[in-house]
Symmetry: C2
Subunit: 399 residues, 2 copies
């Protein structure tokens, strides 16, 4: 993906004009890794976000949602190592103070500072460390890379991208590798742009981009207590404002989709214990909703994931997952390919070259294409294989 | 459970009067283990069943459902090693022939013979072996144990129980150890009774028993292409017929619940790679539906299961699972106990003896009790921990 002309090599959230970032190791994580940082825009931003729908919401989610009601933001302070969730009143007090500390540090009104946290649920933020170290965060125009590392939890690599198109730049970074249950392991995604975009329109564009990218890495549309995808537009690139319907809107949506899909695939690829990226394309569905739910049910099936891990062409698990997904289908019309090789036609097995399928399953990227032949809607979902390593990681997380 | 007075020691499906069973190794499974058997009643039975709702249904499920429309059955033929699912027209022809072979063998009309299959999806039944070996199955009044072994796939132990109450006996056996996704790994449950029960009433009683037992081992109410829970009542115990509302109906329902809950727990305990049984009791819910979905979401969460495997009191995962389950709740009212020790009160952590909780998590049975304080409904769900072994088993299943 990054080889395409419009991707900026080593791009990230500080690629667009006027965005600065930085991070520090404040000792919130048990290791001596960066875990506290700030993203800051030199100019006031139009901003929009989508948050988790979990009924148990972390304090920073509640606070940031409130503060985004006016569609404005100037900075974000973020930490890893502690989710500040299930922390009661003190959790909210801490989130407010974190924003204030950041506001003072960067010179933005506290009302325009958003807060994001990720890590263990049910522990309090070590506020003394944050008070001591937040003012030491150095903001630079290249600091996006540092911040991308500071938001990592069990991620093994930072996830960043930037796309240049139509006179503006869209940058982004994300974290989240509890891919099997992104609904429990926080997904954070920060997007920046120097394009001139209205806050209302920004909301719509963000929703569309997230729906076909980050939400297609999800097991069932549910999410953690801390999930958040935020976009900030500071208008530094100038020119006509981008509003719904005009020509540049299309270019902007495309650029944002590109960044979001890239980040979504990176999250899936870096799933906890993952050794392969799985891409499931569901076509011939009666509706987009059907295509989405079937693609996600397949990509999140433990049995499909384990079969891919074992390079085992156990296609019955794919069909069974589609069958239980709720999508409308006729079992006698199913058509299935793995790695471009047809295994099932009209719902029954056909002879295929087993060695070729196994070879494909052994690769870094596994493609599963299921056609329902029930309509013309399609969707793509991403996931990863299920390995013994996943279990090991998640048995040892807090201890 | 089995120590309770009403459980029959070493009881099973042939404990009620007039039921015979037997099994043989027909070479359908790759190992030389029993994989083909018959359950037969000396007297015609009233019968009822609940089947999977998966839109991809195996041939034996389609056939057995048709044949049960009259509420009658005399025998069941069952095999493991091959699910006879996604097998097109030939699959249906094979299922019909299997029933005919069994009908001839036991002397029952083919219309009254049901068929059940479990194993790999998408392969054809080896009919020559079935034709050769089915007539060799010996039926005995103690053959339930053999049949319970013949339906095992990745199960490590057979699952059987029988309860004596009110002048009749209820027996049962089940298989299924793909506990994390019972929706993909076939669950089969066969129940027998010598009580005199009307077929219509039998349907209602079975549904109630399955709802609070086998369906509470499920991840999300979905199921495989082959799931089936069948009850046959041959009336051999005599006496007044049991019908809805009479006093013996209550006794019958209780006995059936007991057998089904016992089998459900055995399935959970024998989950693939499991080292512990997890019992989640959800109380204080606004509705039974809420209690059920929240209990099942918690018990089927990969992160909760992995935490239990690591004896890690990572209670935030329990709360987060409840929060995303869809159940109505107020995050500030949650009350959580693990092994009877309170960890969370009013939605916030309280000090607790970590060693005691870890010790409980290290035991064979882990109890998680979450009170939502949103109403008075309750439900219990069962599951198991998630181990590296689960992944290993499911990466190597067909190969």
């Amino acid at each position: 993906m990054k080889t395409e002309s419009d991707f900026i090599p080593s791009g990230g959230i500080t690629s667009p004009e006027g965005f600065l970032a930085g991070a520090i190791s404040a000792g919130i994580k048990y290791e001596n890794r960066p875990d506290l940082g700030v993203l800051y825009s030199e100019a006031p931003c139009a901003a929009a976000a989508v948050f988790c729908t979990n009924k148990v919401k972390a304090a920073p989610v509640i606070l940031s949602r409130q503060r985004l009601q006016d569609g404005k933001a100037g900075a974000v302070v973020v930490n890893s190592g502690c989710a500040n969730a299930c922390t009661g009143e003190r959790g909210m007090t801490d989130a407010v103070e974190m924003a204030e500390l950041a506001a003072r540090h960067v010179g933005v009104a506290a009302d325009n500072v958003l807060v994001a946290s990720t890590g263990v649920i049910g522990t309090m933020l070590p506020m003394e460390r944050i008070r001591a170290d937040l003012p030491k965060v150095k903001l630079t125009t290249d600091g996006g890379h540092e911040l991308a590392r500071a938001i990592m939890t069990t991620d093994t690599v930072p996830k960043e991208a930037a796309v240049r198109a139509g006179g503006f730049t869209v940058g982004g970074m994300a974290k989240g590798s509890g891919m099997i249950h992104p609904n429990l392991a926080t997904m954070l995604c920060f997007l920046t742009t120097d394009a001139v975009v209205d806050a209302d329109y920004l909301r719509a564009v963000l929703k569309e981009a997230v729906d076909i990218s980050l939400n297609m890495v999800s097991i069932d549309g549910d999410d953690s207590t801390n999930d958040m995808a935020l976009i900030m537009a500071n208008g530094k690139a100038g020119g006509e404002p981008i509003i719904a319907g005009n020509k540049r809107a299309e270019v902007f949506q495309e650029a944002l989709n590109k960044v979001c899909i890239y980040l979504a695939k990176e999250i899936a690829r870096d799933g906890e214990g993952a050794t392969r990226l799985i891409e499931v394309t569901l076509s011939g569905a009666a509706s987009v909703a059907d295509a989405r739910i079937a693609a996600r049910t397949i990509v999140s099936s433990s049995l499909v994931k384990a079969a891919v891990h074992g390079s085992d062409p156990n296609w019955g698990r794919v069909i069974a997952a589609a069958g239980r997904s709720g999508a409308e289908l006729d079992a006698d019309k199913l058509y299935l390919e793995i790695g471009g090789i047809c295994l099932v036609k009209d719902g029954a097995p056909v002879p295929y070259d087993n060695d070729k399928v196994v070879k494909h399953l052994n690769g870094d990227e596994v493609r599963i294409d299921l056609k329902l032949n029930a309509g013309s809607a399609a969707a793509t979902a991403w996931g990863c294989d299920l390995s013994e390593e996943y279990v090991t990681i998640n048995s040892e997380y807090t201890t």
